[in-house]
């Protein structure tokens, strides 16, 4: 079982603050890993490091076989990041955003439309500017923009935030489907009841270090 994410003694500074203070973590192909922890624990920074957006000060980071200490950019096109920000142009319509981001990621416009359908974004919303959408609708569009890239590693920061019950179920289903099809999912969440149900394994991060790890259940181990 190969490690898709391999971090050893990973230290990442935000300014002078050590947001990650020596993280050791392995995440394997097809795994869904939940990152738990209080606000400011370093979850978002950890996702940013795995996306190749934040560099390490010291330590090792190999993601999807790419050594991020040597070249952070190599991994970026292969990951999908859903962050707190929408990553959408507010004045462009839903389809204009999807067309742009799918083409930017070397996907097709059809991939973008299929992603919108998959996320249950109603076609009546397609021509509306993103700024006129509700928070939940925007979240679905952001999710669609992420999955149309067909990422090998999903990095999700509070993926359920702002979504209604149906949307949350949909996100859980998408994460499970992604893992089944061979992608790897790393997500941070405070909604532990729901998140622990979908995750194969969880780790707790606090103060920039991994405190403990919940091993995969027997059922999950069999799946992996």
């Amino acid at each position: 079982m190969s490690a898709i994410v391999h971090l050893r003694s990973a230290v990442a500074l935000i300014g002078r603050f050590p947001a990650l203070a020596g993280v050791d973590l392995d995440v394997h192909a097809g795994e869904i890993l939940l990152l738990r922890g209080p606000n400011g624990a370093g979850k978002t920074t950890l996702l940013g490091v795995c996306a190749g957006l934040i560099g390490l000060s010291t330590g090792e980071a190999v993601v999807l076989g790419e050594d991020l200490t040597k070249n952070r950019r190599a991994v970026r096109r292969r990951v999908g990041l859903l962050g707190h920000d929408s990553f959408l142009y507010q004045d462009l319509s839903v389809v204009e955003n999807l067309d742009f981001w799918s083409r930017a990621a070397a996907a097709t416009v059809a991939d973008g439309r299929a992603a919108l359908d998959r996320l249950g974004v109603a076609s009546r919303l397609f021509e509306l500017p993103v700024h006129s959408l509700s928070a939940g609708q925007r979240r679905r569009v952001s999710f669609a923009a992420m999955i149309c890239r067909r990422p090998e590693l999903w990095l999700l920061d509070e993926p359920h935030a702002g979504l209604d019950s149906a949307g949350r179920d949909l996100v859980d289903g998408l994460m499970s489907e992604a893992a089944t099809s061979g992608a790897t999912v790393l997500f941070a969440s405070h909604e532990l009841d729901r998140a622990e149900h979908v995750a194969h394994r969880s780790v707790t991060i606090s103060g920039g270090v991994i405190l403990d790890e919940t091993p995969p259940s027997t059922e999950t181990r069999a799946e992996l």
Binding site: L53, A74, R76, L81, Y89, D91, L92, R103, A104
Partner: protein
């Protein structure tokens, strides 16, 4: 790491997106253009057309107005990229930084050329200017605008991540564009008043400025995007 379309494909994608954003938000037509016309009007009030000073100063006033308007356009263009994590998304997209840079320069150049076309009409009406040497005037406008957009896109990206970008951008950019302002003004003076052919050296100088700014910008945009 670049998409199948390469640098040119990325540039066209970004330019199309920026022009679409302008079409949707109408900041250029709704805010920048009225500002530019207002500046032309204020110059006309300050320098009485009857005294002839206005006519002499027309090329300089025109390009100063274009520079002020360019700063507003640049601020808007890069403020959009700094919102909602767009810079992070651009970095994740895998698009070539040089492609993103050239796309933004292309869109800025088109927007500024359209603005200049309206301002030329404004100058003709308000300042009673007669245009000679139209090809030279067009060449100077195109090359000077490429230089402004080329340098502006670099400084726009640099200032985008700063809280004080509204005040910092003009402070950084305007001194750098002083050579463009001088060459464009001299070239326009020639094309408006004298033998048109003698203005071509100024156009050539503007071409060199544009080439230098665009070349440097293509290389500098990657670290600027990474640091943003």
């Amino acid at each position: 790491m670049s998409q199948p379309g390469g640098v040119l494909g990325d540039a066209l994608l970004v330019a199309r997106k920026d022009l679409l954003l302008e079409r949707r938000a109408k900041i250029g037509i709704g805010q920048v253009l009225p500002f530019a016309i207002l500046v032309l009007l204020l110059f006309a009030f300050a320098l009485d057309p009857d005294r002839g000073i206005l006519k002499l100063a027309t090329p300089g006033l025109f390009w100063v107005t274009v520079l002020f308007s360019a700063v507003l356009t640049l601020q808007r263009s890069f403020a959009l990229e700094a919102e909602d994590g767009i810079l992070e998304a651009l970095r994740l997209s895998g698009m070539s930084p040089a492609g993103i840079y050239l796309g933004k320069v292309t869109a800025l150049t088109i927007e500024l050329l359209l603005l200049e076309a309206v301002l030329v009409l404004g100058v003709a009406v308000l300042y009673d200017t007669k245009f000679l040497g139209i090809p030279l005037l067009f060449a100077i406008a195109l090359l000077a605008t490429l230089g402004i957009a080329g340098a502006g896109a670099v400084y726009g990206a640099l200032a985008a991540r700063l809280r004080s970008r509204e005040t910092l951008l003009p402070l950084l950019l305007l001194p750098l564009l002083a050579p463009v302002l001088i060459a464009a003004t001299r070239g326009c003076e020639v094309s408006l008043e004298r033998e048109a052919m003698s203005g071509w050296p100024w156009a050539a100088l503007l071409g060199i400025f544009a080439l230098v700014y665009l070349t440097l910008g293509s290389f500098l945009f990657r670290p600027l995007l990474e640091d943003a």
